[in-house]
Symmetry: C2
């Protein structure tokens, strides 16, 4: 793979910014609600944001110095003064309203009104929650770390969640959030967003505490296959043990497999068959047995 190498010391900030945003994605969106000393309400979206700890529950986001004129934003000023913020999440239903709140209205303009969103009181902190958001996290700010003094420089606004509100309708019968019902938006580079529901969202199961085989334990006809992808081979390498020889040989009773074994290009046919078993049935154990018949 031909790579382009960028040295942050010599690349223009604007270009480096876009290469970082295109590489570090998808980013979750913090729709941050704050209030100033006069009670002026502010909401603004930030995608330099994530959870970093669950015990204590810590969220961190950055309100960056503007690249264009090196000024800072109302959200940061408000938090510096009163150390409180509500972080609301952004789902598909409110994403365009969110883009309105990113417009740089003067400090005294209420972005709730501009974006057509409803302010509702929080239980503990002074900033209001966004009623239309499916998850609202009331936070007190523990610390603000400054990462630089030039345009584009970030801050780490370290927030402790003191109350979490989640819409009942996105919680499933296992008492967990269903991502399809939540329908969150993520931020990519440039003007791109990603909608996180539908067929693009799927589970990948791999136990982390039980030791799997790994690529190095697989026979060469699998590792060197021109048919199987890296993802296919990884499914096989994720098994905990090689199948028993008698179970492999038992597969010869399967009529369609027996037919393949009689063909001249049996290796290729068995690999294609195994790939289908992996891609369509997700049955790594069966696929492994099929591949081991090629000896």
């Amino acid at each position: 793979m031909k790579m382009r190498t960028l040295d942050p010391k010599t690349v223009a900030t604007r270009d480096l910014h876009q290469f970082l945003l295109g590489s570090v994605a998808p980013r979750p969106i913090a729709f941050a609600s704050t209030v100033d000393d006069d009670g002026n309400m502010n909401i603004a979206p930030y995608s330099f944001f994530n959870a970093f700890s669950s015990n204590p529950p810590i969220l961190v986001f950055s309100s960056n110095r503007r690249v264009t004129n090196n000024t800072t934003k109302d959200t940061l000023h408000n938090i510096q003064k009163n150390k409180e913020v509500v972080i609301n999440v952004v789902n598909y239903n409110i994403v365009r309203q969110m883009t309105l709140a990113s417009i740089e209205y003067p400090s005294t303009v209420n972005e709730f009104e501009k974006a057509g969103l409803t302010a509702i009181p929080s239980d503990i902190v002074r900033p209001m929650r966004i009623k239309e958001s499916p998850a609202q996290m009331e936070c007190v700010v523990d610390e603000i770390l400054t990462l630089g003094d030039q345009g584009g420089a970030g801050h780490l606004i370290i927030c402790k969640v003191v109350k979490l509100h989640v819409a009942e309708k996105v919680i499933d019968e296992q008492n967990r959030i269903d991502p399809h019902k939540m329908d969150l938006m993520g931020r990519m580079g440039r003007a791109y967003y990603v909608r996180c529901s539908g067929p693009n969202v799927f589970p990948l199961f791999q136990p982390v505490t039980k030791i799997a085989l790994g690529f190095d334990q697989l026979p060469p006809q699998i590792i060197n296959s021109k048919v199987l992808t890296g993802n296919n081979i990884a499914q096989l390498a994720g098994l905990f043990e090689m199948p028993k020889e008698e179970d492999v040989l038992a597969l010869k009773q399967n009529e369609s497999i027996a037919t393949l074994l009689d063909m001249d290009n049996r290796s290729l046919l068995l690999q294609n068959y195994a790939k289908q078993v992996l891609d369509l049935e997700g049955d790594a154990e069966k696929a492994m047995k099929v591949l081991l018949l090629d000896v």
Copy 2:
């Protein structure tokens, strides 16, 4: 919207953890490569990760204390010793190989071999890059902040990017990363991932420095519409000025619109027509004119 309210002080860590992961999503994935003093290589994925500044270029990720037994991970030990890490991104092609690297193999096991990935030397730091990753960021670690001492507690590992390698094939003719070619994976709650390419990825344009109308400047028939969604109204509110009256009236020359104006339920019909103009053509100016005919 009925909300469920959770108090972090009384909710079990395991449940709070899952509610946070389901709410703060999609999360970008840092596939972190580190090395210990004996040269043992380690790679492991982390989704408590994001960019936080572009000037200086700062990435932050967390290697959390395990919830089950409150122990810490090899990645953290290696970074504490030598303050270097390569953060590689994860695209669709290597996501299952990434899941293999999340398995808790003993410290001396080389996860590059287990996951079938290729280690290539970095320009500046000692940890190796992952050849198959479409973006590899060589970093020196500025600081490690500890967020707690219980199981589930995170660390802020604050990394400065000293060299960025991006695959030429994901860069478009405007010298920017094409998200569809990059094909990144994001992490959701539970075992869910999101693939960030295809129709789920789309641009939303809203200039932030030019002042848009906002919801409060729209007439009541738009704000109170039962047909238009919040996203539809936000497209209209994102315009910079109301159309001129003569331009609105000129629309009456349009035959299909003239027909609608003659009907008894003209309000409903005009709103449905405007919604189509917004959803299918994305033409907020035309939709606004259509809606203003309903007087």
